[in-house]
């Protein structure tokens, strides 16, 4: 018996099933016309050459950004130009993304369980703190409270902070970690803490 192709009719699209002769699927003309022209391309997020060449980032700003990120300064003019060009395209990309209207939308920080049930579980209550409140004692009769400090040290079981790989002794100076001031002024981190 010869196989007879079944013609399926899918409502609304005018789909007639695969072509008998070639077996190719012929989409409806409506779908075809929709798909014939792209409505958006990722290329729109990249900078076009014909745009204004006004730099968004100056050389000084680049150097400042590198200092903030504790990255080394560019070693040559080409490297600097390359960095600036990359930054330009990245800034253009971000500007395109910022064109989306996000009024009233709370920024997403992390994907979390934000149901009322989970909030109730996370809430710190009097019960949570009761064992710690029991460690306090009243002093005198005015309502003064003082926490009883432990007389013995509570150590973390066996974690040696210096035991982080080979060369343990090179990371120590007595019981301390140590840091040496860099001689290279450009790449040295800020001298004083913020």
């Amino acid at each position: 018996m010869d196989r007879v192709p079944i013609r399926r009719v899918i409502f609304g699209t005018g789909y007639r099933g695969p072509d008998i002769k070639t077996g190719r699927i012929q989409p409806s003309s409506r779908i075809e016309s929709m798909l014939s022209r792209p409505s958006w391309s990722v290329r729109s997020m990249l900078p076009h050459d014909e745009e204004d060449k006004q730099a968004s980032v100056t050389k000084e700003q680049l150097h400042h950004l590198l200092k903030l990120s504790a990255l080394p300064q560019p070693r040559s003019q080409e490297e600097e130009d390359g960095m600036l060009k990359t930054l330009e395209s990245q800034i253009h990309f971000v500007k395109e993304v910022q064109k989306v209207n996000t009024t009233g939308v709370e920024p997403l920080v992390a994907l979390r369980d934000e149901t009322a049930e989970s909030f109730r579980e996370q809430t710190v209550t009097l019960d949570t703190l009761k064992p710690f409140l029991d460690q306090e004692e009243k002093v005198g009769n005015n309502g003064t409270i003082r926490r009883r400090k432990p007389t013995e040290m509570i150590t973390h079981s066996g974690w040696d902070p210096f035991e982080l790989g080979d060369g343990k002794e090179t990371r120590k100076m007595g019981k301390y970690f140590f840091v040496k001031k860099g001689k290279d002024k450009d790449n040295a981190p800020p001298v004083l803490p913020p």
Partner: protein
Amino acid sequence: MLRRWYCHRFVSTARLYTSSLCAQRKCFSTSTHCRFHATAVDEAEVAPLRKQLKDAARASRHQQVSDTNGKDQLRRERLKDWELTVGIEIHAQLNTSSKLFSRASADWTDVPNAALWPFDMAVPGSQPLFQPPVLIPALRAAIALDCDIRPRSKFDRKHYFYHDQPAGYQITQYYEPFAVNGRVTLTQQDGLAPEEGTLHIGIKQVQLEQDTARTQQHDEETSLIDFNRSGHALVEIISLPQLHSPQAAAAYVRKVQSILYAVDAATTGMELGGLRADVNVSVRRFDGATGNHSYSGVTGLGQRTEIKNLSSFKSVEDAVCAERDRQIDILEAGGKIEGETRGWSLSNPGATRRLRGKEGEVDYRYMPDPDILPLHIDNDLVAHFRSTLPPVPDQLLDMLRLSYGLTADDAGALLNLDNGTRLLYYQDVVSRLTPSSNNNKTAFGVHVGNWILHELGALLTTTETEWHPDLIHAQQMSDLISLQLKGQLTGPSAKKLLRILFAGEKEPVSVIAERENLLFQSMNDQEYVELANRVIQDHPKEVEIVQKNSKQAQGKLKFLLGQMMRHGDRNRMEAQRAEKTLRSILMP
């Protein structure tokens, strides 16, 4: 009160110059015959020297004041045109057993790098684990500062690179802190100048944050790092720019520290590095154009600079003064203030120095921390802390003034002495004196206050002893005071008894009093009559004048009475009875 201690200090200095006091060091007996140590004494010799030394000190003080008066005058003229505005950020270490995001112990810091969990060193893969017990001191601090507690708050990252910040960022609460809109009240009692009146300083927010590791300089190119402190819970208290004088700034920091200590939120003070203050200073002309800077709703301010590394209350005051003068100098010369960070060092006092200018300005790139869940605080928990909040110093002061009848000065002294333990001792003594049926403490409050602050205080100062509760047991103290109040001890003998107790006698007071024959045994009538007759015999001329009842009668009667008092046993004489006896004999 201070003056009396001052006097006694000079008695001890006088000791060096006169041999008229008892040779034994702790014995201040100035009676004609020191009961304990046999050296004759003449009280009259001590007084002139004491007066001399006091006068000399007063003269030199006046000299100093008149020297600076000229300079102060000029400065005060200039200050009339300029308004100073100060805002302060206080970082205080919380009194809690664990760190903020790790279970490492926050108590033990003796051995370097021994109280660490991996997260404190930002070991790759370690995660933060919020420790609920840090909320105990944090909530108490926020409630004591009159803040609203937010039921939900979030944690943010503040990015900067430094060797004491292992993760490259500090976890803080920049956008949504857990407490906002607080208030601190400052009065003259707290150290304000009288013309400032009462100030209410608003607190913008109180937030939880992490502390950095501790660094110490080993040599020129090496720093040693101890991560014990890394991750320790801090609370940052940001005030509104509503302080307008250096004294108010120092008073504010002192007040906040005392409040935090009173509610057990922070137990290490500024001197030990447990509390740090960063001060923001700006000036503007009173009558000129208003500045165009503003902070948190306070507008019209001038450009501000920030001063860091302040480690004592005095340095807060001095640094604000110096910075204000520097800014006024620049602006009067026509320059502009740069927004920069400056430092203050004790070794180079009188001026702040620039730490970091605009080009070194750090952009912290605050961002919500995605690893840490928002903090939810139960309303019942907050209510519990509110109802059981330990009393802050202002409340204790009010209680002492109203329930115990003490003056503001005495109450303040009691609160500040010996970490509050002197206050508890005082209350213990008063409660032992007050019969349980009668709750009226004002009857004894002032009296006990005098004994504990002034008499005992004088002894402590002159012997340079540190007070502790077992020095004189509360029962002994209350027995002594009750004997004196009942009239069984005269003033001088009570003081003598105090000195005996101070020297270490632990026996009951009544036993000691009996043994040392200090108890007041009133003389009987016969003895009064005998004494009166003796005096009458010795002074016939005066007796005649009295009996004639002429103009001088009263004066001579007083003279005869004086003679009686002198010759009788002072410990046993009662002036009124003596006078009555004398009158009855001379003028029947």
